[in-house]
Symmetry: C3
Subunit: 426 residues, 3 copies
Amino acid sequence: MLPPKENELITRVEPGTPMGNTMRRYWIPACLSSEIAERDCPPVRVKLLGEDLVAFRDSEGRIGLIDEFCPHRRVSLYFGRNEECGLRCVYHGWKYDVEGNCVDQLNEPPEHQFKHHIHITAYPTSEMGGIVWAYMGPPEKMPAPPKFAWTQVPQARRHVSKVIEECNWLQALEGGIDTSHAPILHRLLTDNSTRGGIKPSNPFVRGKAPNLVVDVTDYGYLYAGIRPLGDSDVHIRTYHFVMPFHQIRPSRSESGIPCDAGHIWVPMDDYNCMVYNWMYSTTDAPLTDEDRRERGIGNGPDFVDQTTFRSKRNRENNYLLDRRVQKTETFTGIDGVNAQDRAVQESMGRVVDRTREHLGPADRAVIQARRLLLQATRTVEAGGTPPGVEATYYLLHPAEAVAPTNTDWRTLLASRAPRTDVLQRA
Amino acid sequence: MLPPKENELITRVEPGTPMGNTMRRYWIPACLSSEIAERDCPPVRVKLLGEDLVAFRDSEGRIGLIDEFCPHRRVSLYFGRNEECGLRCVYHGWKYDVEGNCVDQLNEPPEHQFKHHIHITAYPTSEMGGIVWAYMGPPEKMPAPPKFAWTQVPQARRHVSKVIEECNWLQALEGGIDTSHAPILHRLLTDNSTRGGIKPSNPFVRGKAPNLVVDVTDYGYLYAGIRPLGDSDVHIRTYHFVMPFHQIRPSRSESGIPCDAGHIWVPMDDYNCMVYNWMYSTTDAPLTDEDRRERGIGNGPDFVDQTTFRSKRNRENNYLLDRRVQKTETFTGIDGVNAQDRAVQESMGRVVDRTREHLGPADRAVIQARRLLLQATRTVEAGGTPPGVEATYYLLHPAEAVAPTNTDWRTLLASRAPRTDVLQRA
Amino acid sequence: MLPPKENELITRVEPGTPMGNTMRRYWIPACLSSEIAERDCPPVRVKLLGEDLVAFRDSEGRIGLIDEFCPHRRVSLYFGRNEECGLRCVYHGWKYDVEGNCVDQLNEPPEHQFKHHIHITAYPTSEMGGIVWAYMGPPEKMPAPPKFAWTQVPQARRHVSKVIEECNWLQALEGGIDTSHAPILHRLLTDNSTRGGIKPSNPFVRGKAPNLVVDVTDYGYLYAGIRPLGDSDVHIRTYHFVMPFHQIRPSRSESGIPCDAGHIWVPMDDYNCMVYNWMYSTTDAPLTDEDRRERGIGNGPDFVDQTTFRSKRNRENNYLLDRRVQKTETFTGIDGVNAQDRAVQESMGRVVDRTREHLGPADRAVIQARRLLLQATRTVEAGGTPPGVEATYYLLHPAEAVAPTNTDWRTLLASRAPRTDVLQRA
């Protein structure tokens, strides 16, 4: 139930907007490392906060993230040649290094060249955890790189994927930090089903509707859903919301390996976001090929075109909803846990009209995230530093437990600290 | 040759418009009964007068027609589960009965629930003649159900289909009440053709250009086209226009059974309408399977996708126009009488610019319909009841005849009254 | 680096714009003669300067180019019947001759007809060189027909094709008159490649970056690129720019026959242009079937759908860019010289933002064309005649040569005048 002005303020991220300016104070995922795996690889298009960019890896392994359009005649550098430490526009052969310097003008004789006057927008990057991160804010305010725990484990124990969600980033994020929907939307109707989802025998589903707890922290907040299981026990899940768009949750891989996992909802523009999905094994067990297919969760190559990163189940095909499956096997009839999320969140429209919603106590985490985000825009506009820019989230660990009703769950979960020995100090 | 303001006034039907408010005083076809045939069937999307709705049949056979979007977080109820007397949103499990009451909030513990404060828009419906009709106007002004003769005959003698026409409802309607185009646009070039259309030997085609007569009535008007056949005879066809969007015409089924037939042009929004096509045998003969395929008329499964109700011959494929057929067999080269109508009417653009047209005497029925429609908006704005709301059209019957030139055709046709014994009194 | 107002002024051509009014003073290609080859052929859609038209050839061979929409009820005459010296609307049978006179009203009895009051927009046409040309300006200012040399040679020695480019006409034209890009964008990486493009051993590529020379004339300008080849020689290519959108360049056919060639960039509307590609053998040798396939140049049936004239390599499929080919064989990885042009020019966006470009000396021809075009709009607005309307370009001939550095190239090239005996005087 946001007023129209606040709905605009909190959702819009394109150049010049307060929320866009706030986002620019953080490191932002730009692409997967695997998209520009090799030196002198083809450039890839990157859309961030309404800006069209291209990313490439140069002959010496440095990463460039520059304006998509050549400043000469505005041709797309996506068509460019990545060669000898620079990306060359194919139209007239102007060439740019990773710092945005124009280093050649193939169409002009030497006496006419003016390349030292030509620069192209170039953003600093940091490669970590299989992701190329960008910093698009004021240079003097660049924070330390985003050393999330999951970015520091060996590659064998980590997996990262991405998928476009065809709506504003905030309604996607709001789905992620809303634990109350999970055992409803993602419910299996029978333990016999082999489709992705949460079985009815799982205490997450068996538990009654949750009480939501939100503890605000210096990086965002910790939140928990506490569900009664009969009279004596409760089921507890705790998560972290790290500003401005990270979720950290307890999970298991497809093959059952205990994991921490999460999503990052990165605004491409006001109407689309790129969801990054990460997980890492919190034990010594490496992830398997099956884990990396992400079939149950609804990401990976069965669910997402690995060239365009568009979901194969999407708005145009009603997410391949099968009404028979909906009657007999799964709550939605749509395969893939995150495909289910995309279906409902995209169905709200490109930017949901929050003036017409009706929130209740189960939406406490959603409400608190909005407060933090709106406050952050005011902090940034006043010249301050928004929460989560300082990397206090380094060792954050989510947890899940069944415990007696009277347990002090914060103490219990604090005891389940991350195994810091699994981290690979950078 | 309408002024721009009147063209806007008469075509626009979305919420808040005078014509939209006028339409809301009538019963409006919302979907086919067959789309929600079973109890607890999947919900279907319905777009009416610019509003997004879903229709469903509940566990007890009652029909719900409610807002598409859950008031909690605005997720589409199209993805909902129809179960135990209500439609349940899959995101958080809120559930609505056919009257729009929220009857469950699965995400909230009992002590937090506030379902008695939550209602969703729900419109009254009436099922009649294979169609679910909706009333979207002020409750205190709801008229008696639309007992058109055709809705009262046994199902074996009636057929109803529907198809989207990709333009404003009014230019579709104007085509339907324009008898002057029929023997031109729908003409076959040879009696030997087996394609749908009107043969050259038919007096409808053999006759010369018609004189149009329009007799205004309390429900709309009766109109006739009178065509000289040589010196001594005339060919006469009479039709009815029932406000705000019904046509009733004389017809024959594909197998030749004498029928009354008609269209209803229902505005989905300002740019699309859903055309309902009905016919019923006016003799004891039941309709055949071939009749129900509607191949000549250009509706039915050969011509219309029965899931999306989109015409297979459409703007994108130039209606599969075959220039060779146009040279040798049919006037248009497009198969299917109503596909021909859609082709020309959609070719005018989504909302035709009536400031640039040039009407003549043959357009008398079109001109009169506009007058009635514009007058109806003024009547409704002044608090009155527009024509046709009171169901005086119960026994309307169209007719066709060849008669001596001096015949009093009104008397002749009145003598061809409907066989009221074929009606199944409700 | 145009100011925003000038970018608007120079690019916009739809009805009422200064540049549109300027264009209307010239003969404009409307369609290929082959599209309406036969008498009483089907009409074809033609979009010119934002106007929707249809072209047809009547029963006596006369060409009609008239408004697409029937003035009666605004139905598209694309669906019309071309019969007995006129195009008949299929809706009510109104019929128009090539001069736009309404000659029949099939839906009205003789005593009601008002056809003498009905006229439809009709533009004069001139058929020449395999193209139907239109004149859309004030009748009293119609210039002599466009007797370009290439339109006057026998058909066996000439070839013309066309293709839609999905961007504003001006950025397409600017690519054509920009000789500096050609040996860069169209470069082959190895003489062994059989793909279309310019081999590295060609002096056009071997030469260093060019000095551009632009000599303004009464029809537009002559321009030349002069490229040093070592110390003693230069490579020279001269072209003509004929106002408002013609290029004339030296070329060779696919099989190696010396040709003059060129493009015409015809604005369909502000966001699309139709590029006509012509060439003619400047020797006695007729063009071959292989020449007419235009495989290397990237036009013709392998590259362009001959029904819609849409490029098969286009924005939606990234022009079928092959990154392996880009590494090893061609500068772009895109097959077809003109497909390469379309790729880079369309990548600038529908109307490139010229306020954000950075031009240099190599863009001299581009800058000069803009000056002439902007000046022409002022001339027309002041009631004058813009350059190139008077057909002084009749015998224009481009040339290419390798010559000693100190050569007076203008004299040299003037000596290579066209063989006027190859022209077929009309």
